[in-house]
Amino acid sequence: MDLLDRYLAAVAALLPKAQREDIVAELRDLLLNRIEEKEEALGRPLTDKEREAVLKDFGHPLAVAGRYGPQQSLIGPTLYPFYVFALKIALAVAAAISVIPAVAAIVLGAGNPARLLANAAFDQFPSSALMLAGLVTLVAAGIERGWVPLTGLTEWKVSDLPVSSKKKGLFETRFNAVFEMVVVALFILWWTGLWKVDLGDLTVKGAVVLKPSAVWQTLFWPILAWSAVQLVLALVTLVQPGRVRLRAAFELAVGAGGMALTTVMWKSLPLFTLEPVTASGADTTRLEQVIGMGFHVAMLVAGITFACQIGAAAWRLYKGAR
């Protein structure tokens, strides 16, 4: 087998089977023409080295075969800006899911701070970032080839873009969404017991013990469902901040859910009872009154906040629908 056959065999191995024979025959003719042209110019047959130089000059078999492929790039120029943007978000998410648990563990005194941070920076972050970047690349390549249908890039409206604000830019909106997502995810893990956090026996300076009331048991599933909706809202805000109406609908659901939970909690006050350990009965009652007043105020603030959220979301839903 001479050099030309070896070269063509290497190209053939990389070509689609259906076109292989056809393309290789054409390339053979082309390369023989090149060799003959050189021989004619020199007035003698080419040496093996000169033949090799002609083949090398034509290009690496991978590059030659690649030119015949239907797809010349993994991610094309139209999709590329969206891909880079998604990569930046993936890196921000990787940083958040690496750093926030480490910071939480440091706050809770669950380990050596330097070691926790080093672990987050050199172990958690690189592996999470690589995994997420790989995933984003796979999805982008799938969109490029039409395997993953995506209408969001073509079917969008200028009126659906986020309202520009000097106080709150798009980056800040997305950063908040990432932060919210991580916090809510950690809360869900803790609420469902998947993430164990030792809070001790809920004593106040060893004098009284805080006992959660039965309402917390009743509200276990509603609070979990409400948190899940919040997580979805944060995800929608992160991925598609331009979907104003969709976000408003979720915000309305979160606001209504929050209002319902606040109402049930208000009716079930006190949410914690105190049992004296070393404190006197009078001190315990006084502390109960202070804590009760604190909860009343907190419930009122929460109620007002949720009412504002419902009003704002309903307005955006109405305005966005026009």
Partner: protein, 109 residues
């Protein structure tokens, strides 16, 4: 950091890319095989890299603008390309577009 020469070369390639298709289609009003097509283009001052020319011919054939057939010539099998009926119509429209762009640019530069 790209130099001025790099930038110029990249812009030149971009400018040439579309016009080469027009030149290839125009040259294939007459039947030719790849190598002879490249030579014909070179003779009129349009050098084209063979690595780009052959895949381009296949793409144009896949789009129905060219037809091809294998024939023996000079004791070797060669693939001959020629403009299809559809290719002729597209060439006519592209040529009109080219003339319009050329006229406009003549007034600008």
């Amino acid at each position: 950091m790209p130099t001025d020469t790099d930038i110029f070369e990249s812009l030149r390639q971009e400018l040439r890319r579309g016009t080469l298709i027009l030149a290839v289609l125009a040259q294939l009003k007459v039947e030719r095989y790849g190598y002879s097509l490249r030579q014909a283009l070179a003779e009129v001052g349009l050098e084209i890299d063979e690595g780009a020319l052959y895949p381009m011919l296949r793409r144009l054939e896949g789009q129905g603008l060219l037809t091809s057939e294998w024939r023996e010539e000079e004791k070797r099998k060669k693939r001959f390309y020629r403009l299809s009926t559809e290719g002729e119509a597209v060439l006519e429209r592209l040529a009109a577009e080219w003339r319009a762009i050329n006229d406009t640019l003549q007034n600008l530069i």
